[in-house]
Symmetry: C2
Subunit: 147 residues, 2 copies
DNA sequence: AAAAAAGTCTACTAAATCTATATGCTTTGT
DNA sequence: ACAAAGCATATAGATTTAGTAGACTTTTTT
């Protein structure tokens, strides 16, 4: 399962993506629109900024904005920044690898082999999907099912 | 990430699968072979038994065994019994659905839409893969990379 | 019949992680 | 100077997970 942190990050980036190119948006606005605790969101946006995804502006009229086009930010990137585990096993994770301490010889582990396949399928989808795609999907869904 | 419980369950079922049709295997043997805390494994095997996957026999010469052929037990089944989350979002889970409390209209959520796709890909792989397949993979890996 | 070998069941504790809040600070615009 | 915003770190609270303990039941062996 993704953490709340990751989920909030995704939601926030979608909001910012819709607003790309315009004036920065305040944390408090995103927080209230998306029902995210403001202080928690602060930390999250800070992480995303420190990772180079967002710019920020202090003072009146300040806020956050995307540094690059939403089509250039993949969902998998966001999971990684916010520490969301993509792989279902630590020994299979590309970015947060850890030995499974119960497992002797990893290279011949059949269970691991299956979850490598799962990881590949997941990474494929999430790296091919950008924030812009998420926004597009949302639009399609609204058209399909009405607001 | 899968819980240790789920991982231990998978490991144990592989051992039992290799032994299908023969005399039952003792918890303590699986525990020491697979480096799993014995008491913890007890609970796990009990769950798997209560779910109808294993039979057990008490007393000397007792132990656990698979009820059906390892080709008839899918990996996804095991995750579900041991409570391992297949979906990455609660609002996307087929068997453990929960509303994302920050999300207003689920039907038009673009993030959700993406993770439905991820879930489908994952479920496909894990439901098409049986314990027998895991054993087969292990065998292939051993041949490929040596013991 | 007694003892030993194994699984059954429930409760509890400890550790880790996640979520959220608090507090004070810095920068920027008016 | 003041207010509006973000920056940074610390800490508390809640939840979940992992593991342990102990007493009980069934079956086999002696």
């Amino acid at each position: 399962m993704l953490s709340k942190k990751t989920r909030y990050a995704l939601k926030a980036l979608v909001v910012l993506g819709k607003n790309f190119g315009e004036a920065p948006i305040q944390i408090s606005r995103i927080a209230s629109e998306e029902h995210i605790p403001k202080k928690f969101l602060e930390q999250i946006l800070l992480d995303l900024r420190n990772a180079g995804l967002l710019f920020s502006k202090k003072g009146s009229g300040g806020g956050y904005g995307l540094v690059k086009d939403p089509s250039q930010i993949s969902v998998v990137q966001i999971l990684r920044i916010t520490g969301g585990p993509v792989a279902l096993l630590p020994c299979v994770s590309l970015n947060f690898y850890q030995k499974c301490d119960e497992c002797e010889n990893e290279t011949t582990c059949g269970v691991r082999d299956v979850f490598v396949e799962v990881r590949d399928a997941t990474v494929k989808i999430l790296s091919e999907t950008s924030i812009a795609d998420v926004i597009r999907r949302e639009k399609n869904l609204v058209e399909k099912f009405g607001l």
